[in-house]
Structures are given as C-alpha cells and as structure tokens.
C-alpha cells in the first residue's frame, strides 16, 4: 500500500485553475521530492493533502484512508511541516511540542519522553526550555520537524522546509530528514524549488502550472528528456531559460 496516493486532483480559486488532474503516489519508506517553481501549486496541493480544504475534483488517500471521508484517521498517520513557521513564539520549544502531543491525544508521560527523544535526535534538546523567539531559523525548523514526529507518523510532509535557511542549515536539515526516512522507514514528501536538494535515488514529481509534468526516479529525469543535466531537464519541463 502506498503511504500517500493522490488521484486526479483538481482545484480552483474562483475562476483561477490552480491544480488540474494531479496524480502521483509516495511509496512507504521512500523520499519523494515535489519539485516546482514558486506558484506551481505546491502549497495548494499541501493544503488539500492535509485536509485544510477539500479538492473540487479527485481524491487523496493516506495509507488507504480517504481524506474527505475519514480525515482524522488519515491525519493521525501524517506529520506536517508547513511552509510558514507555525510555532508559538512566546512558548518554549518543549511547550510547543507538548501542545502538539495533546492535540494528537498523547498522555503526559509519553509526550515528555517523545519530546526529549525527538529534540535530541535533531540536536536541539539543549534549547527545550528556551522560548522559540530566542531560537535561530534553523533551530526553529528542527523543532518543527521534531514536533511533526511527536505522534510517530508514517508519512512526513514538508512544504519548502529549507526556505529562509543558509546553505549549511539547508544541508543539515536535508541530512536529518534523509536519515529519518532511511532509519525509520518514514515516507517523505518534500516540496522544494531547489534542484540541489535532489539525490539520484529520490522519487521526483515535477509540478508546473498546476499539472504534473514528469514523475519518476531522479536519475532518469535527464535521460528521459534527452537533456544534458537534471537542471536542463527541469528547465525544459517548466519552460524556463
């Protein structure tokens, strides 16, 4: 069974068509990069996958649970890191994690245990009692990933998680998530417009102007399109110079 399967998804805001006939799947334990320029429809796609609103057409299934029929069961298996930071700045890192754990129904003991475990895993345990306001951008992102993992999801969604980070910060974050994917078998959907975040073994979905232009293994992207490099292939798919 696929961790995430998106079938023929379409959505418009008023008369503006944002997504059209989008279909792809993320297999269990795989890292899938959703590649698209700004305005490609990535964030709308994330909103539909997380059930923020329903799609006008098509369906989203998370481990076989339909998002519009049984959203709670689907959401329980999903960890999400949104594009915009969603931490409470006045609360400490630990308090933010406990809040999330409570929303997912974890008791106090397991909430404490898991928060220590996840923050340690992401190298931010020493900041657990600091207000989020005092943390750097990279540290905040790591706290958000730790939070998304609190309830032990099998699917992790990240919407441009490296936006606003410097190059070492981006590399570190990417490394952390790849380790999670490898060690815990978590399926990952990672939206980005940075080509350098791809590795040869990743699955790739190229989204442009609301439609899927190409999907497959990253190392086949260039060959498939007869391009000299992945960058050239991506440019030809998205009509850029």
């Amino acid at each position: 069974m696929n961790a995430l399967s998106v079938e023929n998804l379409g959505h418009s805001f008023g008369s503006r068509r944002v997504l059209d006939g989008v279909s792809f799947a993320v297999a269990q334990g795989r890292m899938c990069i959703l590649l698209g320029r700004n305005g490609a429809g990535k964030t709308t796609l994330f909103s539909l996958i997380t059930g923020l609103y329903h799609a006008r057409a098509g369906s989203v299934h998370v481990f076989g649970q339909a998002m519009d029929v049984n959203p709670s069961a689907a959401l329980a298996q999903m960890g999400v890191v949104f594009q915009l930071p969603t931490l409470d700045l006045d609360l400490t890192a630990g308090e933010n994690l406990h809040y999330h754990a409570a929303l997912h129904g974890l008791d106090k003991a397991s909430s404490t245990e898991r928060s220590i475990h996840e923050l340690e895993r992401l190298d931010v345990l020493d900041r657990v009692d600091d207000p989020v306001r005092a943390l750097s951008g990279g540290q905040r992102r790591r706290v958000e990933i730790a939070r998304a993992l609190m309830h032990g999801p099998s699917l992790l969604l990240l919407d441009e998680p490296t936006a606003g980070l410097d190059v070492p910060g981006r590399r570190a974050l990417e490394r952390h998530v790849r380790e999670l994917c490898r060690e815990r078998g978590i399926a990952v959907l990672w939206a980005t417009h940075f080509l350098e975040e791809l590795t040869a073994d990743d699955d790739v979905v190229v989204l442009h102007q609301g439609t899927v232009r190409w999907a497959g293994r990253a190392d086949r992207l260039a060959a498939d399109l007869g391009a000299a490099s992945t960058a050239e292939a991506f440019a030809s798919l998205t009509g850029a110079e």
């Binding site: 008023g14 709308t44 059930g51 959401l75 999903m78 969603t86 006045d90 609360l91």
Partner: protein, 268 residues
C-alpha cells in the same frame, strides 16, 4: 475520537491559551485598565448628567456606576472575544491555525475547545474587575458573584462564537481591523450597557429598537440580573440561541468543503 483523546486535546488547548495570556502582560494590563477608565472617569462624569429611575433588577435608585458595571463586564468579554478571534486570524496568517485544523479530531470539536479555552482564560479578569468595582461602591449581594458565573460563561461563549464566525470570514488582518471598528463600537454603544432602554428611547425610537434587538443587550441584562441574584429568562434564551447560531455558522465557515478558505485560498 475517543474520550481521553478529546480531554487531552482540550487540556492542551487550554494550557496553551493560559501560557500565551500570562506571557502577554501588556494585553492583560490593558484589559484590566480599560473598564476601570470607563468606571473611574466616564461614569463619574455621567453620574450628574444621567438621572436614573428605578429599573429592574434594582429596587432603589442607583448611582450610574452601579448601573454601568454589568455593561463594562460584558464589554471586557466582548474585547476578549474579539482579541481572541484576532489571534485566530493572526494564527491563520502565521500558520499555527493549520496546526490546530490538522489535528486528528473533528473540526467542530477543535473549534469548540478553542472557544471554551478562550472563555475560561478571560473570566478571572472579569471577576477581578467586579471586586475592584467595590471600591466605587458597586456592591452586589455576595451570592451575586456566584450567580453571575453562568451568565458570564454563557455571554463569553456567545461573544466568542461570534468572534469565531468573524475570523472565519475575515481573510486578512487588515480586514479584521475594520471589523473591530464596525463590530465592537456599534455592538457596545447600541446596547443597554451604558444607558437603559428608556433613555435610548428618549434619544430616538430607532436606536431603542436596535438596542432592544441587539443580542449584546441581552447579554448585559443577563449579567445585570444575575449579579443581583435574579434570572432574566428571555435574555438567557436570546444569548443561548445566538451562541448556537453563531457557532454553527462558524463551523460552516471553517468547513473544508464549504468554507470561504477553499474558495479564496490565499497562500500560494
């Protein structure tokens, strides 16, 4: 949704509201100073201008300060409800609303929990104000402080549900600033919070009719009667019906299939 999950989520939401409120000292202070300014300055000035006849629940002629305190308590709840829904719009712009809405719980439950938490956090300040008002010789019977509790909760929920509804249709902070002006001031001034209905009728029958139909007037009267250990069933019914109506409308506003959000989008 099982019961222990529901209770834990409610606790978590309540705890977050408390921590946030306690850490925003400026907001706490201004919430406390606002009604005191009205009581100490506005009421003192109006005391000589406004002669008040005996109106229920008062059994004697009362000073203007005595008349205005229940209205000011309701005003505190109104400001609190609007500040809380402003926070929701802010949460939504900043994204933390998404966190709440992607919790594996029914959306109506999440919204109800957020509403209840906000009211619980707002109540201690209202009580503090009622006790401080004793220094202005506003001294309702001791049991009145107990009797007013359900009235305050019901009013807080009704106003909070209204704020929730406003936040569900308001897509931007800028819109919301306008809503504050167009909501708080008319709702407050066109009510029985500052002047009794017969006074408003003298000023103009239209204003009196608006005030009579304003649910905020019902909330004020419910609090006023309860504070003097009397029950105003019509006011209670109006507040309850409005609470249900506003909450249902807000749930529709946040519904993933029908809400305005899915039509307007907003974020990329």
């Amino acid at each position: 949704m099982n019961t222990s999950h529901a209770v834990r989520a409610l606790n978590g939401i309540l705890r977050r509201e408390m921590l946030r409120t306690l850490r925003q000292r400026g907001r706490l202070l201004s919430a406390m100073v606002r009604p005191l300014v009205w009581l100490a300055i506005f009421a003192a000035g109006f005391r000589s201008v406004l002669g008040l006849s005996m109106t229920p629940p008062y059994q004697t002629y009362v000073l203007y300060e005595v008349y205005v305190v229940p209205g000011l308590a309701a005003m505190m709840l109104l400001f609190h409800a609007m500040a809380s829904s402003l926070a929701m719009v802010y949460d939504r712009e900043m994204g933390s609303m998404r966190l709440l809405l992607t919790a594996p719980l029914p959306r109506w439950y999440v919204l109800a929990a957020r509403l209840l938490a906000s009211v619980i956090v707002g109540l201690p300040l209202v009580y503090l104000f009622l006790f401080v008002a004793r220094f202005w010789d506003v001294r309702p019977p001791v049991f009145g402080y107990v009797a007013v509790f359900p009235a305050l909760v019901l009013t807080g929920l009704m106003l909070g549900a209204f704020g929730l509804l406003v936040s569900s249709v308001s897509t931007q902070m800028e819109n919301f600033a306008g809503v504050m002006n167009f909501v708080i001031f008319p709702v407050f001034f066109a009510s029985t919070a500052l002047y009794p209905l017969w006074r408003l009728a003298e000023a103009g029958p239209v204003l009196a009719t608006i005030a009579a139909w304003n649910p905020f007037s019902s909330a004020v009267e419910l609090i006023r009667f309860a504070l003097y250990v009397r029950f105003d069933p019509v006011a209670a019914l109006v507040v309850l019906v409005c609470l249900v109506a506003f909450f249902l409308a807000a749930v529709i506003g946040y519904d993933p299939g029908r809400g305005l959000w899915s039509r307007r989008g907003g974020e990329g």
